[in-house]
Amino acid sequence: MATPTVIIGIGTSGLRILENVQRFYYESFGVNKPEYVQYMYIETDSNSEVGITPVENEIKQVLISLKEMKTMCKYVQNLGAKWVPPLEELSIYTIGAGGVRPNGRVGLWGKNSEQKNYIKVKDAIENAVRLARSPHNPDITDTEPAIFVTGSLTGGTGSGIFIDLAYLIRKTVTNIGELYGLFLLPPIPSDLEEKAQYYANAYGAINDLNYYNRSDTLYHETLPDGEEIETSDAPFGLTQLISQNYVKGDPAISTLNGLYKMAGLYLFLNMIGVKEHRMARLVDAPPSHYGTFGLSGIQFPKDQIQEYIAAQLSTSLVERWNDSNQYILQGNKENIPRNDIAEIVKMEWDSIITDAFHILDSVGNITIKKEIIEITNKIIDKEIPDHSKYLFEKFTSRSTNNIYVALQDNISNAVNIIIDRIYKLNNDILNRTENIHYAKITLEYVTGFIDETNKFWQSIGVSSFPKNWEVSLDKMISEINKNRYKYILEHQNLLSEKIYSIFEFMKMHFLSSKLVDIHDNILNKEQSLRSTSKIPLKLPKTETYDKIAVELAKVINDKKSMSFYKRMDDIKQDINDNTLPILRVFHYGSFDDELNYALTEYNRNYSYPSKVDLIQNDSLWEYLSSIDISSLQSHVYKDGITKFRDLIKDKNCVNDYDVTKYIKENLENGIRIAKKATNVFLSIKEGYTLDKAHYLPRFVAGSSRNSIEEVLRFFKNSEKPFDDFPISDPKTILPLPNLQNILVFYDEKTGLIPLEMISYADRMKRVYDTKPKNILDISEEQWKIRTRAYIPEF
């Protein structure tokens, strides 16, 4: 029976660990989590972003606001908290808690004008537990939930709130089953003074945890909602501590990301059945507040291969969109043809302006042409004594009810046509070429032709000013009296046409200022014009293309934020990281060969990636322009990775790989990796050994019992027999049917006394007790305020 589980990450490290959990789960099950598990992370840094898998992210962010720190401190002080440091000692940090432990703690309990942090966190925990006890699954509704809290103890957020959070969870989730902590410690210091804050925070955090683990210590706090917590229980049932170092001195895991990965693997395994298996063993173990573990694996990195190819394909697609020289026409790269674009736009602009003129021929039910014919007939039939005056009145701007006013009221229809047609042209061109520079050039030509049109109109005397219109009108009416071609019986047609010319001229008079607006709006930074049609469309702007181009360039190769190259680099770095206790194995020998094969498979029927891969037949312009420009980069990044990964998966470009087959063929490597699991992630002082008793969990997890047994038999029967995972003990074998492409070796240790056993605990204590000499900007007392959060010392 599944246990409702909530995994709570604290700080950015907590988030990174959760991302890895999510990734491992996706890789095995095709979804980010089971129904009975909820992920949430509590963060003080509003800039942190969640990494992704092809399906919707399930990690819920709970942002603690650290604004108005002094107000929050006063608020927490008023609750009766004695641990709040002097207000003047709390700096205002722009990013997160700034490594200051009390900042994180005050942040958890405090409230400011933005929000009540405590209420937000409490609600988030309650909600996560409620969702984990899925109402759709009656079996687990009444089951006591298990909660894991994870993060790093080096920063201000994690080391500041982890104890309060544990007690808050215990208070909020009344029938909690298990509450575990998995915390990351900094590695053996290479430059202790440089990173003194990390080590002092970590030491302080463990020191505080030791304090509350004691049965004679009372945790007593008044909560912001008035309730009190008063308990002598330890915050966590078991706290696992891991670092980048190994106990036996193997080279440390080279990157923090590697450690996040191992922590993520640990939590993922616990989610899918390892926890029950561990607990079945630990139940016989003597009580211990602290533990650590070793974990190793042999893995075919299918997920990373898929993601790498997705990043490559996304790069090709975005490069296609953002190529300033070439575009793809029927599968071939062609230079952007400026002359052809000019021709197309010229024709299109002629058609647009003709349609805009045409729509003005009718006002409601009245057809202006008909009215003009009637006027002509009246003039021909001499019903009007002074036809010049009559015509003037019909077309003058000084009247309130004539053709001029009717056209003025109708001009928005013509503007709508122009905006809608320019939008459509831009949209069609972008969809057809999938090149923003091509589309931008098109828009520039549109503005060029608008400009030309306006200049031509100006040259024939068109002006948007009513005063000038009156002058032109006068001139046109006097022209009507000449050349009437009466003697060849054409005077009626000619007169009607000349009156209609006045009307056409009037259209230009009204449209000229509108064309200037449209022209300027396409080129300038003002807010976009919108049509007032049934479906209002926004006039595209060249500046939008400039911004899109910058963001698309960033999504390809930005070093600081989410970008495809950065992700590819990260994946390669991870794959090539030999300090990680995970051996990567491949069908075709290497990661690069695997990529080549998968890409060839993918490209079998495709020449270039296209927008269809991402947004099907939706409009590319809508896709790129409707997203807020500041989030376009992350949006395109996420869509690229997720959609292409889906496609790669659907096309079965990367097949599963039975890692036991590799072990059989490379027994030495297999044993080397299995041995790594017994090498826990913590550097222990000489003279201390961690408990190796039989009741501690030590097992191999894989997709089937048979394959695990087969591997263990090979180990036992090898030239140098390896029997650390004895096949004779049934608890050594943990079949997890969905655990594809990986074989995991796990070894757990308890009985850890961190501040005694960790090899560099003394050095950590030194910077905790005394401010390092290189830190000059704060006093000894301020240093203590920053590194102490729970045990009252001041």
Partner: protein, 127 residues
């Protein structure tokens, strides 16, 4: 009538003036007929403004008239015979002055009309 159209001899000023007037009236009449027909037939489906179409038709009418007039000149020379053309005699030219007026007048009129059409098509002359 034959004397008026096919006799190149100059008799007196009165006869000459009469001939010129008849030539001009008949040319105008013929031109009108041609223009009337052309104005109904040419550029009917054209997108040009009616006035421009009519002016164009008029130019074509002038051209057509000029062809007709040249046919007349051909018949005139054929009938009179080249031997009776006294090119060195000034009086001979006086006898043909009506034909010359119409011939060169038509050409001049064509260019004048063409110029005014060009002017009207010119952007600055639309109003």
């Amino acid at each position: 009538m034959e004397d008026i159209f096919f006799d190149a001899t100059y008799s007196n000023l009165q006869q000459l003036l009469g001939r010129i007037i008849i030539f001009l009236i008949l040319s105008g009449l013929l031109l009108y007929i041609i223009f009337f027909v052309f104005s109904k037939l040419l550029f009917r489906k054209s997108s040009h403004p009616k006035e421009i179409a009519l002016r164009l038709s008029f130019l074509w009418s002038l051209f057509a008239y000029f062809i007709v007039f040249n046919i007349y000149i051909f018949v005139f020379i054929l009938k009179t015979g080249l031997d009776s053309m006294h090119w060195t005699n000034l009086k001979f030219y006086l006898g043909l002055i009506a034909q010359f007026i119409v011939f060169f007048g038509t050409i001049c009129f064509f260019f004048i009309k063409r110029h005014s059409l060009t002017k009207i098509i010119n952007e600055k002359s639309i109003i």
